[in-house]
Amino acid sequence: MKILVCISQAPDTTSRIAFTEGDKAFDSSGVQYIVNPYDEWYALVRAIELKEQQGGTVTTITIGEAACDPIIRKALAIGADDAIRVNAAPEDSMQVAQLIAEQAQAGAFDAILCGKETIDHNGSVVPAMVAELLDLPFVALATSLEVENGIAKMTREVGGGEESVEVALPFVASASKGMAEQRIPNMRGIMSARSKPLNVVEASADAPTSVSKFTLPPEKGACKMIDADRPEELIRLLREEAKAI
């Protein structure tokens, strides 16, 4: 199987969130970037497991500038064979999906796996856009994936449970928790990642949406403490004051 995994960078989960350029851009000063957890822990690791079981290759693709190279090397260290980086600043989900779809088309992949969303823009929509651009079947929020005789069998999160779904290869899926377990790259992986191919491609696409302003949410007021001997007081406050129950 030839698998393409879409990898994006995201600020470390403990990053201070602040904005710059008149609140139009994320302030990346001092921010440590990681592989977006859903892309790494679930999509990438499951792709590598499938390759280990059945043979084939795992290629990663990232839309981003050279600052993304460290997270791409990490994906290679975890076990991807090669990487594509489309040298463009990601601005919008449609733009990113178009750039991914162009490369995916050229590579004739059997499976395109993405994380279910990035932890910065939380859009969760690039995977299905890629599927539509390539006219492929799509499964959102997949929690498991097996491939047998050209058929991909998945489970996916739906409201109130899990559905089993089958699609023929090639297909696109977005990976959610349950799909695989996080892998820590070992020394050999880290060494070999340095010499694996990272192909940089120049391309651009239009962005039909743009952020006009970022704002931080208002601070919470003080927490009202309730005596541990009188928890029933909490229930009263939840009804009468907060009107929550």
Binding site: F138, K177, S210
Partner: protein, 314 residues
């Protein structure tokens, strides 16, 4: 021009997040002097309650459609027929699969996870897992929005919608649904849609102790959730994991017992309207994000809350 909501059907009725998408579409249409229609596929009775969200017309495809590609074709046909300038879907498993395909077909900009109606040509959405909001501009003639569950809610609008049969050439279904496993406990509202949530963390010490969490949840009619380590070690199922790398929720009430309040956990719950924290450690960071707090042992406090909640409901 008009606004079109696409609404998924479960057990013969629109889903809760689907009704919210319909209400969002109706209110947006009203603000623009337009009317709103809703597209549904599968069996519903009457207008499925969509008229009561302000929808004027329901386009009803009687065949159930589960394939995301077919849904996109159906939506495109409806959008063309209605000359729709905006398409609205829920930001759940349905909208995340269908809305992006619709955006591609209609060459429309998509804003995912909106929380408020567009105003002055900008629409607000959550970013950084609830740690910030962004106001987004769309430059295309048609816009697609997916609405965060529990954000906009359903605004009642007395009325009945007309129902018209609708169909289009959908081609073949390539995504075959072969089974369903109801993971959540009987009668619980699915976590992303839940208005009341009782959540617990490593402070509960073991899966055998979750009875007191479930008891409080059932006394309140709430859905259960948990912190990441609790689902990682298998004390609770994955779908209960909330936080930056789990599900992001915004219920009216979030009760957290034995959860320290790490930044990654807060990211997934900090938009809850009211947060209650129960923790033995008065220095637990979660208290800084809480509206109400009790410093105390969850093993003693939770059963007392359950008793008080039952009394209140009685």
């Amino acid at each position: 021009m008009s606004v079109l909501a696409i609404v998924s059907i479960k057990n013969g009725a629109p889903t809760k997040s689907g009704l919210e998408a319909a209400s969002y579409a109706a209110n947006y249409a009203a603000s623009q002097g337009m009317t709103a229609s809703a597209l549904v596929a599968g069996e519903i009775s009457g207008d499925g309650g969509l008229g009561a969200t302000g929808i004027a017309k329901v386009l009803h495809c009687t065949e159930p459609v589960t394939d995301s590609g077919q849904w996109a074709k159906l939506t495109e046909a409806a959008a063309v027929q209605l000359n729709a300038s905006a398409i609205v879907a829920s930001h759940d498993h349905f909208g995340r699969a269908v809305a992006p395909r619709v955006a591609v077909r209609l060459k429309a900009g998509l804003v995912a996870g909106v929380t408020e109606l567009p105003s002055n040509d900008l629409v607000r959405k959550n970013v950084f897992s609830g740690k910030a909001v962004a106001d987004v501009a769309v430059s295309t003639a048609i816009a697609v929005y997916t609405v965060t569950p529990n954000a906009f809610g359903v605004k009642d609008a007395p009325g009945q919608a007309t129902v018209e049969p609708f169909s289009a050439d959908l081609g073949i279904a390539r995504e075959k649904v072969t089974g369903f496993d109801s993971a959540s406990a009987d009668g619980q509202v699915p976590l992303p849609e839940a208005e009341l949530v009782v959540s617990a963390g490593r402070g509960l010490k073991g899966p055998e102790n979750w009875g007191i969490v479930e008891d409080l949840a059932s006394a309140l009619g709430a859905t259960t959730a948990c912190s990441r380590p609790v689902s990682d070690i298998g004390w609770r199922p994955h779908h209960e994991h909330v936080g930056q790398t789990g599900i992001t929720i915004r219920p009216n009430l979030y009760i957290a017992a034995g959860i320290s309040g790490a930044i990654q956990h807060l990211a997934g719950v900090n938009q809850s309207k009211t947060i209650v924290v129960i923790n033995t450690d008065p220095e637990a960071p979660f208290f800084k994000a809480a509206d109400y707090g009790i410093v105390g042992d969850a093993f003693e406090i939770l059963p007392k809350l359950t008793a008080a909640a039952k009394e209140l409901k009685a």
